[in-house]
């Protein structure tokens, strides 16, 4: 089936199989490998992308369902080779260890800050409920988001 999508501002038209997930489409058809597969069943959030403004687990969305959609992936964060404020904050706060969960974490955080520019610690934790970090680095991630939202005393 032929689908049209816009990924990080660029239009793509591809012929895809019905059983291809959006995750595989992004990685294998578009070649953007920042989006990761963790559990593959919608629990860990490593495959999080922003689909029409909302975060989704791309491992449990079909590519054909995304026909006509606007998609943002982690590759859309940096502009002209410069990291976004949020990415910088993750970097500065050591919110990255192995890095596998980071693309999803950043996109969940980005969506949170768009809807709620000054989230409380509790709201940050709730927003990251669907993103697992197995290096146990949550504290640094929370601090990175607090800093990016201008809420950290220095």
């Amino acid at each position: 089936m032929k689908i049209n999508v816009k990924v990080n501002g660029k239009k793509y038209e591809r012929d895809v199989r019905e059983n291809m997930t959006l995750l595989r489409f992004i990685r294998e058809e578009i070649g953007l490998t920042g989006t990761k597969e963790g559990c593959g069943v919608g629990e860990c959030g490593a495959c999080t992308v922003i689909l029409n403004g909302k975060t989704v687990n791309s491992c449990i969305v079909l590519a054909v369902e995304a026909d006509g959609a606007v998609i943002e992936t982690i590759e859309g964060e940096a502009k002209n080779g410069k990291m976004s404020k949020l990415q910088n904050s993750f970097h500065e706060h050591h919110a990255v260890q192995c890095g596998f969960c980071t693309p999803g974490m950043v996109l969940s955080a980005k969506t949170l800050l768009k809807e709620n520019p000054k989230p409380s610690e509790h709201e940050i934790k709730e927003a990251l409920e669907g993103n697992f970090c197995r290096c146990t680095g949550y504290q640094q991630i929370i601090e990175a988001i607090q800093d990016a939202s201008g809420q950290m005393k220095k």
Binding site: E18, G42, E43, G45, V56, N57, E65, S108, T111, G130
Partner: protein, 276 residues
């Protein structure tokens, strides 16, 4: 990699009902079709090899199924495409049926709430379905349609067993109606789980109270979510607990023991009734 299947996305109800009639899964009658709305259950089941569906019918292009309408005499209508997040963000739901928001907020994670649908939660018919408790308390009716016509039934009659519903081949739940009589009720909801997000409830209780009626629903404690008979609003929590224990049949499993579930149901009933 997901198994192979076909995919169709009808643009209106007429096309949909025709497709459902053509693909009932009976031997020699088309393919085994299932509805695809949010996909947060069915695509997981396909990936895990539990679901052998060979045709997915995506209903998201059917505009009228996205309705989420409140009417002061008829109550609330929730269409088949309404997601948890749409329900949570709806002003009328917030004002008149906050218990729905309370239970919708307890489903999965933001990613799942952005995608999953209320009616999908009901049609998956897990004994732990979070939406079942609030919807049962509010007296929800399920509106079913097929090419042959339409019918409605109380949600409590819709659940037939673990992941079994009253739906017949060729039918779809197109909406849920919530009558006005329980609008603006006092409410409470408690769910026992190991972690917030990504965990099935081990036991959960919703209670709503309005005028002279108090209504209690319990999930994860029987093969279907359980609605107790209506109580008078001045009933004691001891009476409600006694009635609850007669109606539930919790099991011992990897998540919790039967005794623990019973203990928590009683605790939650008392806790909520003290509050409302």
């Amino acid at each position: 990699m997901l198994k192979e299947f076909s995919y169709l996305a009808p643009k209106n109800k007429t096309q949909l009902l025709k497709l459902l009639a053509e693909h009932t899964g009976k031997p020699g009658v088309g393919k085994t079709a299932k509805i695809l709305a949010g996909g947060t259950d069915i695509l997981v089941n396909i990936r895990n090899g539990f679901d052998k569906t060979d045709l997915l019918i995506d209903i998201k292009k059917i505009g009228e199924y996205s309705k989420l309408d409140f009417n002061k005499t008829k109550g609330l209508l929730i269409g088949a495409n309404v997601t948890y997040i749409q329900l949570i963000n709806n002003k009328n739901v917030k004002k008149h049926y906050p218990v729905l928001i309370e239970t919708a907020g307890k489903v999965g994670s933001p990613q799942l709430r952005n995608r999953g649908t209320i009616i999908g939660n009901i049609c998956t018919a897990s004994p732990a379905a979070d939406m079942s408790r609030s919807l049962l308390c509010l007296g929800a009716e399920v509106n079913i349609v097929s090419i042959k016509g339409s019918r409605s039934m109380k949600l409590k009659d819709f659940f037939k067993g673990v992941k079994k519903t009253a739906l017949k081949a060729g039918e779809i739940v197109e909406s849920i109606t919530i009558p006005i009589d329980m609008a603006d009720a006092k409410y409470g909801d408690e769910k026992l789980k190991r972690i917030k997000g990504h965990d099935l409830a081990q036991a959960a209780v919703s209670i709503v109270k309005k005028d002279k009626v108090l209504r209690v629903a319990i999930s994860s404690c029987a093969i279907v979510p359980v609605l107790l008979k209506d109580f008078k609003s001045n009933v004691s929590s001891a009476t409600v607990c006694k009635e609850a224990l007669k109606s539930i049949s919790p099991i011992d499993d990897i998540r919790a023991s039967k005794d623990y579930r019973i203990h928590m149901v009683k605790t939650y009933i008392k806790r909520i009734m003290d509050k409302i």
